[in-house]
């Protein structure tokens, strides 16, 4: 037996991801101040005991806004992964398992979508749909379908040749049951790792789009918006940018470690 090595990526990833999750969950129920309340007296207040992370140019408490903003960003990212990933997995499972001309057509279509840079394509969608939280989710989901479809298809392609699938066919198990009860659990390490990568990309894409002003709209706080609003005061009040930036970093880092750790665990 090989000695089991500690999977530090997974442990650290789970730790950071859990920490961020607690942070944003807390933000749903409690923030030190109203995240949208303006306070002229506290304009550009430096971090201190009163305002832990300081205040922005409207005198809004940054800690409260970061808590809310992390929630928004997280919601957008998770919805994107669930929607885009869900459709992608379905497409990949069917094309990989059944093959044939449907596979050819869908995969060529996939290649077309895949060949555009993610963010560019999402921008086109936003251009058509208009800005806003839900449109960002929709745009990013569509953009994320191909990568999920491709990974899932590859897994199904390999798994369907295994003898256990033939054996299940002989026993009279239906195709659908084979796909989702027999094969799907074996694709989970890859799919989950893909989901973690997708989550990361979605966090960064949402931040990027909100930074450009076409993502989440005010008064919703989002990490990207906060960064964008604070760039004018980067030198005079750096805390306005540092804390939202740190949150994006931690979210992305946590889930990136998680995906590495999951892949290692799956033995790939």
């Amino acid at each position: 037996m090989k000695k089991k090595q500690k999977n530090y990526n997974l442990i650290l990833g789970i730790f950071i991801a859990l920490f961020m999750l607690l942070f944003l969950l807390a933000g749903l129920f409690y923030t030190p101040y109203d995240p949208d309340a303006m306070n002229g007296a506290a304009k550009f207040a430096a971090p201190g005991t009163e305002h832990l992370f300081g205040c922005d140019h409207f005198g809004r408490d940054i800690l409260s806004r970061v808590m809310k903003g992390t929630g928004t960003t997280f919601f957008v990212a998770v919805s994107t992964v669930v929607l885009g990933g869900g459709i992608g997995i379905l497409v990949g499972a069917f094309t990989g398992y059944f093959g044939g001309w449907v596979d050819e057509v869908l995969m060529r279509f996939n290649d077309v979508v895949f060949s555009f840079p993610h963010i560019l394509l999402a921008l086109v969608f936003i251009g058509v749909l208009g800005p806003g939280k839900y449109n960002v989710i929709l745009a990013l989901s569509v953009v994320f379908i191909p990568s999920f479809a491709r990974i899932t298809r590859g897994e199904f392609l390999a798994q369907k040749e295994m003898d256990y699938v033939k054996s299940a066919r002989l026993m009279g198990v239906s195709h659908l049951r084979i796909m989702f009860v027999h094969i799907f659990p074996n694709t989970l390490p890859s799919v989950l790792s893909m989901a973690a990568i997708g989550f990361n990309n979605a966090v960064l894409a949402e931040a990027g789009m909100s930074y450009l002003g076409i993502g989440v709209q005010p008064p919703d706080a989002s990490l990207g918006r906060m960064l964008s609003e604070s760039q004018t005061y980067l030198m005079s009040a750096p805390w306005c940018a540092i804390f939202p930036g740190l949150c994006i970093l931690l979210l992305a880092l946590g889930f990136s470690l998680l995906s590495d750790g999951l892949l290692k665990k799956g033995g790939k």
């Binding site: 003898d163 033939k166 054996s167 009279g172 659990p185 074996n186 989970l188």
Partner: protein
């Protein structure tokens, strides 16, 4: 003698570039009730294609395959890929019963009984396939093939991936089950020793054709075709 399977003048070919390559040429034989029929030949001679054709995984160009039993089952060579790695053994054995709409309590009983028959402990039934040895996995495969009550089994090199001592145990188990349950087995192997010990009759296959078929004793004592003689000469006496 009743038959469980009749294969009549079957040919199978694969597309290879623009031409077609004939893998099975005019194959005819029958599997009788309550016998182990051996199928021997070098790798690439079409043994596996023949088993796939019988099970309907490969389309035949010509000929006819007639089943006289319900659903033949198969035991595969590689006990690693033939069991789903993400399911426990008991789940794998229950699945065929789920397909027969057997209620849960009855399923559990049947799995336990079948486990006992093939020599698996209750504790081993709760494990994942990767936690079992090659021989134990092959016992699971045998149990899974038999649990729906199949009377005809195709075993494709079921002992080739195993150590010699384990090979012997699995072979004895299969012979025992065959006698006890009155099974018919098409036993595919490249190993004449294994065939000699297990089978009632033997078919020798070469380049997609059946060279000869005889009772095992006769074949080993008086081989008719020169190819069979060649194969037998390779055996230590």
């Amino acid at each position: 003698m009743k038959k469980v399977l009749e294969v009549k003048q079957v040919s199978v070919s694969y597309k290879e570039g623009k031409s077609r390559k004939e893998v099975l040429k005019d194959i005819s034989f029958e599997v009788r009730e309550n016998e182990i029929l051996g199928l021997v030949g070098e790798s690439g001679c079409g043994k596996s294609t023949l088993s796939k054709a019988i099970l309907g995984f490969v389309k035949t160009d010509e000929g006819e395959i007639v089943h006289h039993t319900e659903r033949p089952q198969m035991i595969f060579q590689d006990p690693f890929s033939s069991l789903n790695p993400s399911k426990r053994v008991e789940w794998i054995l229950e699945e065929p019963l789920r397909m027969q709409k057997i209620p849960k309590e009855r399923r559990k009983q049947k799995v336990l009984a079948m486990g006992e028959k093939v020599g698996l402990t209750t504790e081993q039934l709760r494990r994942y396939p990767r936690e079992l040895s090659g021989g134990q996995r092959q016992r699971v495969s045998i149990a899974a093939a038999l649990i729906q009550g199949a009377k005809f089994i195709i075993a494709d090199e079921p002992v080739s991936a195993l150590d010699v001592t384990i090979q012997k145990q699995i072979m004895e188990l299969m012979v025992h089950l065959q006698e006890e349950m009155g099974l018919s087995i098409l036993f595919i192997s490249h190993d004449l020793n294994v065939i000699y010990q297990m089978c009632d009759r033997v078919m020798v296959m070469k380049d997609g054709k059946i060279e000869e078929q005889q009772d095992t004793e006769d074949l080993f004592a008086h081989p008719k075709s020169s190819y069979t003689k060649l194969l037998l000469e390779g055996l230590p006496q």
